[in-house]
Amino acid sequence: MADRLLSVRNLGVAFENRVVLRQLSFDLYSGDCLAIIGPNGAGKTVLLKALQHLIPYEGEIQWSQEARLGYVPQSVAADRQLPLRTRELLAAKARFLDLADQEMGDVSSELNLSPEFLNAGIGTLSGGQFQKVLIAFALLGRPNVLLFDEPTASLDELTEERIYELVHQLQSQRGITLILVSHDLSVVYRYASRVLCLSKGEVCMGPPKEIMTPEMLEQLYGAPPKYYRHIQEH
């Protein structure tokens, strides 16, 4: 059996008087690709933040000592006017974490980041390029767990496809464990080994084939799933 990387017990998050997550318990094992799905406001992003101890929570979140986390947020409200080059951003993280000199080069070549790309100001990057910077940023420090929060939310289909290919490649080549928040059910169906559904405090979890039935998804989203049947035909 694979090593357990994360144990979550009775996790609860509330903002002022609004309960977002309640009594959530699950485990994450090495090599897993855990997809988190649910309607807007179900607490998917909140869960990712709680897992990194970025917000206050109740309950227990226990990462194993081997776990090294990388985080790709849904969006970064970075000031596009910031006089900052991709290279300077990545170098700042590498120095802060005291990483070996060649690690930045390794990540750059893994993601095919050209010198021109690295020297470009972050304000001049396209949406897909910016997402690539976020992935490169997350990969510095050699994480073995990546937390992706809708990594392609604002991207066109082609770029989205490339990003997911990259994610899949990282998973298969590096053996990275993934926690993936996504609204794209076809992606979840294709890549996830387990699915965690969040909806109004209700929780269900299991392999995609068991969880992502039309009935379950209709119950989860309150409307028939648009893409599910199409994907099943393949």
């Binding site: 970025l54 000031d79 700042a92 802060f96 974490l97 100001g121």
Partner: protein, 273 residues
């Protein structure tokens, strides 16, 4: 000149020679300009110009009370400045519309209280500063403060870059963002305090923000940006000081320095991006 100020002036004259005292003051003004450029460029990138402006005004009630009690204005100004900085830090940590309003209220309150408690004959100096000679101890203290400011910004450079890009990602990487923000606000206040005597409570933050805004017009690279901001700040102080002394024959150098920095900013706007 009123009696209290004349007595203070005599006391300062007695503590060191005229030439050395003025040299110390000029040197410290130059050091302040360099620190102001560095701090200002980070403040501009953090988009905390409003909070910055408020911080310098926080010194005013303390300055006023110190003038009233005939004690060292920098001690009074420093005390309210640092207390107020902690208050602004707390306000910044809260989110929502109320933050801007709260900072605006603090700003107005400081100006009102400061103007009320400062003796009328000292009000001009408290608001706009006055260039006076400096004792060796004052010079060394001011220089130590500038070294501390520069050391903080150089030492925290990587954390600051991560925080500028995304406070959330910085926190996920392991940066204590709240502590970094507090550290920066304190460094900002320390810089204001060094410049307070000759720039005054109203103008010392102007020299932190305007040269940085000028530098931002001139370069798109972060390393160049902070260097150019410090250079512009230094030129503003030097030119403003010379114009005040040689043409206007006044020791109230702050307004001229600010006008020079504004002119440099206006010139920078001519540069095509």
């Amino acid at each position: 000149m009123n009696e209290a100020r004349a007595a203070r002036s005599r006391k300062e004259e007695g503590s060191s020679s005229v030439d050395a005292g003025h040299s110390y003051a000029v040197l410290l003004a130059a050091f302040f300009a360099i620190a102001a450029g560095l701090v200002g460029s980070v403040a501009l990138m953090k988009r905390m110009v409003l909070a910055s402006d408020v911080i310098s005004h926080l010194a005013l009630p303390g300055l006023g009370i110190a003038f009233l009690l005939k004690s060292n204005p920098l001690v009074g100004g420093g005390a309210t400045l640092f207390l107020g900085t902690l208050l602004v830090w707390q306000l910044q940590r809260k989110t929502g519309l109320a933050t801007d309003a709260s900072i605006g209220v603090v700003f107005a309150a400081c100006l009102g209280i400061g103007a009320l408690v400062t003796p009328r004959e000292d009000l001009l100096e408290a608001l706009f500063g006055n260039f006076q000679k400096l004792s060796l101890a004052g010079f060394l203290l001011g220089t130590a403060a500038v070294i501390l400011v520069v050391a903080f910004l150089v030492g925290m450079k990587d954390r600051v870059i991560l925080d500028l890009f995304s406070p959330e990602l910085a926190a996920a990487t392991g940066v204590n963002v709240a502590r970094l923000d507090l550290g920066f606000l304190l460094v900002f206040s320390l810089t204001v305090l060094v410049g307070l005597r000759f720039m005054g409570a109203l103008l010392s933050s102007a020299l932190i923000i305007i040269p940085a805004a000028t530098a931002r017009q001139l370069t798109g690279r972060m390393a160049q940006f902070v260097v150019v901001a410090s250079a512009v700040s230094l030129v503003s102080v030097a030119v403003g000081f010379l114009i005040s002394m040689l043409i206007f024959k006044t020791s109230t150098v702050g307004p001229t320095i600010v006008i020079v920095s504004v002119l440099l900013f206006a010139i920078s706007l001519l540069k095509k991006k």
